[in-house]
């Protein structure tokens, strides 16, 4: 049984792999230095609660979101100007750069709150967060890493999905957080932000 489970997991993971494509993280670092570091921080470790940390983020996720920003499908003014006129290759390079940086918890991460942790864990189990983001919450392909993210940013993002203010490349996330209260979201964000 253990073997079968392992095999299934490997097969599923493999289906998402893209063919080997030349992506240049050095070029990505140059673009990031010009366009990204002011908000997302040096080494992709933003210290601002409302700005996501990008170090170790899934390259597939970063690429897709940057395309959606550039195309005006996902509308965040700061990101629209930051992605303007970037070629697809440049976007893939930026994504490769950030994906290759080691992720780490924010220096100012709050201490764990036992009650919030328990409530967040229960919600995550009920909403199957670990199905797509994987049980480690490291994410895969188009589904982002959640660990080491700012708690405030996670809460903000989930509220946007719940309230229909944000749609990803599909509406899976809108469905996943449907009906959660602000307190539910706060607990879930606290729990997810404290995974390592």
């Amino acid at each position: 049984m253990r073997l079968r489970v392992t095999l299934a997991a490997v097969l599923v993971a493999a289906a998402f792999s893209l063919p080997a494509i030349a992506r240049d993280p050095v070029r990505g670092a140059e673009i990031a230095a010009e366009r990204c570091v002011a908000c997302h921080g040096m080494d992709g470790r933003s210290s601002l609660a409302e700005i996501p940390r990008l170090a170790g983020q899934q390259s597939g996720f970063i690429t897709l979101q940057m395309i959606l920003f550039r195309e005006g499908i996902r509308q965040v003014p700061a990101m629209q100007s930051s992605t303007e006129k970037l070629s697809d290759t440049d976007i893939e390079a930026v994504a490769a750069y950030y994906a290759g940086l080691p992720s780490a918890a924010p220096e100012d991460r709050t201490p764990r709150d036992a009650a919030l942790m328990a409530r967040g864990q229960a919600i995550s189990a009920a909403r199957n967060c670990g199905v797509c983001h994987l049980p480690t919450y490291a994410g895969r392909a188009q589904m982002p890493r959640l660990t080491h993210q700012h708690e405030g940013f996670l809460a903000h993002t989930m509220a946007e999905y719940r309230d229909g203010q944000r749609i990803g490349i599909d509406t899976q996330m809108n469905g996943a957080v449907q009906g959660l209260s602000n307190a539910d979201i706060a607990a879930l964000a606290h729990y997810l932000a404290h995974q390592d």
Partner: protein, 401 residues
């Protein structure tokens, strides 16, 4: 670990437990605990020509495949203008492309519309291009004369009055569109969930309209989500592909091919699929009372764009047969689809067999895929275009004796 295996193999047992966790989003009804199946990531960046997997394509003897056009991220449903321009819609990237052929045989691709919500439904009537997005219906007049300077479209959204994005809740709100021999626009209204109880006069329909959006007529009820339809060139009947529900096991249900003999027929969703009662939503209905599909197209294969072959380049046996693009599965432990199949019919229009035509994109040994065919289009010279959404390429298939 044990729980995981149980979840994978006993989907229906897991369902009642999930139903108690309100609210379960529509797309996840029936999702077994522990499954890690999730939709595959799309690719929305340009794939360089060297990486377009045309070399992987396998075809019957005498057929060849070439790259017709590439660098068209997310290219989906195709339509051809009277001057030969190929238009292609998309979903997530929000663009409509126009691909024209240069005198030397190369192609030029323009983006003629962008920032639309899933502009997947594309038809040409006369000189006008109709775009059916998830939230709008637009008409671009005299489009082929204005590819470099596209005028503002005529807004037909209110006239068509299709259910809104909000009413769909993000479920199956993208459109396929086709022009019937009667000049009407045929399209789908997908169901607003994976599977649920819903208004059967409003969702899971095939519908038709006059081109101005008036005269809505329900062509078929109980068709979960069709993203491919065409009229038979001889019988003039409407045929449609249909995507079966998710989270009911690896082998059930099949995606299906539907033949509509009379407007308004009921094809059974959500109560029955292909003659079988739904494990959760049958509601005591007799499945014999619904129209059965013309053919089964495989579990979770995502059968999408279909056209009848009306050209003369291919051998006689393909004349008037249905070519169907199968985008390929996600809600299945082993990949299925990722190919183009042909449904062969007899003189009465009954499907006699479904056979593989274009294969090679599905790598069974490694459980990976190279591209995802989403639509087919018969060109005037009889060659067949196949849109590959994942790699943003359009392939052209020709036949030489």
């Amino acid at each position: 670990m044990k729980k995981f295996v149980l979840g994978l193999t006993a989907v229906m047992l897991a369902a009642p437990a999930l139903a108690q966790q309100a609210p379960v989003p529509g797309w996840a009804v029936g999702r077994p605990e522990g499954s890690t199946l999730a939709p595959h990531a799309p690719r929305l960046t340009v794939t360089p020509l060297a990486e377009v997997p045309v070399g992987a394509i396998r075809l019957p003897p005498g057929f060849q495949a070439e790259v017709f056009a590439h660098g068209i991220p997310g290219a989906r449903m195709m339509a051809e203008g009277p001057r030969g321009t190929i238009f292609a819609g998309s979903r997530a990237i929000g663009r409509v492309y126009a691909i024209s052929r240069n005198p030397d045989g190369t192609t030029r691709t323009r983006i003629i519309a962008e920032r639309l919500v899933q502009p997947n439904g594309i038809v040409v009537i006369g000189d006008s291009l109709y775009v059916l997005a998830a939230n709008r219906v637009l008409r671009y007049d005299n489009i082929e004369a204005n590819l470099d300077n596209v005028p503002a479209p005529v807004e037909l959204t209110a006239a068509f009055a299709l259910p809104t994005e909000q009413e769909h809740g993000g479920n199956h709100h993208w459109k396929f569109a086709s022009v019937g021999p009667d000049g009407r626009i045929y399209t789908n209204v997908g169901v607003n969930c994976n599977i649920c109880e819903f208004d059967r006069d409003k969702f899971a329909l095939l519908v038709s309209f006059n081109p101005d959006g008036s005269g809505r007529r329900i062509e078929a009820r109980g068709v979960r989500n069709s993203v491919g339809m065409a009229h038979h060139p001889v019988t003039r009947e409407l045929w449609a592909t249909n995507n079966g529900r998710d989270w009911a096991g690896n082998e059930w249900p099949n995606d299906t091919l539907h033949r509509v003999r009379q407007s308004g027929e009921d094809h059974g969703f959500p109560y029955c699929t292909a003659g079988d009662p739904d494990p959760q939503f049958n509601a005591g209905r007799n499945c014999g009372s619904f129209v059965k599909p013309a053919a089964l197209l495989g579990p979770h294969t995502a059968a999408l764009g279909m056209r009848f072959y009306t050209g003369t380049m291919f051998p006689e046996q393909y004349r008037n047969m249905a070519f169907i693009a199968r985008r390929g599965s996600w809600n299945r432990d082993k990949l299925s689809g990722y190919d183009v199949v042909v449904a062969h019919t007899d003189a009465q229009g009954n499907v006699t067999r479904v056979e593989e035509f274009m294969t090679g994109f599905r790598d069974d040994a490694n459980q990976r895929f190279h591209d995802r065919p989403v639509d087919v289009h018969v060109m005037r010279d009889g060659s067949l275009l196949v849109a590959g959404e994942q790699m943003g390429a359009i392939y052209r298939i020709t036949y030489r004796r």
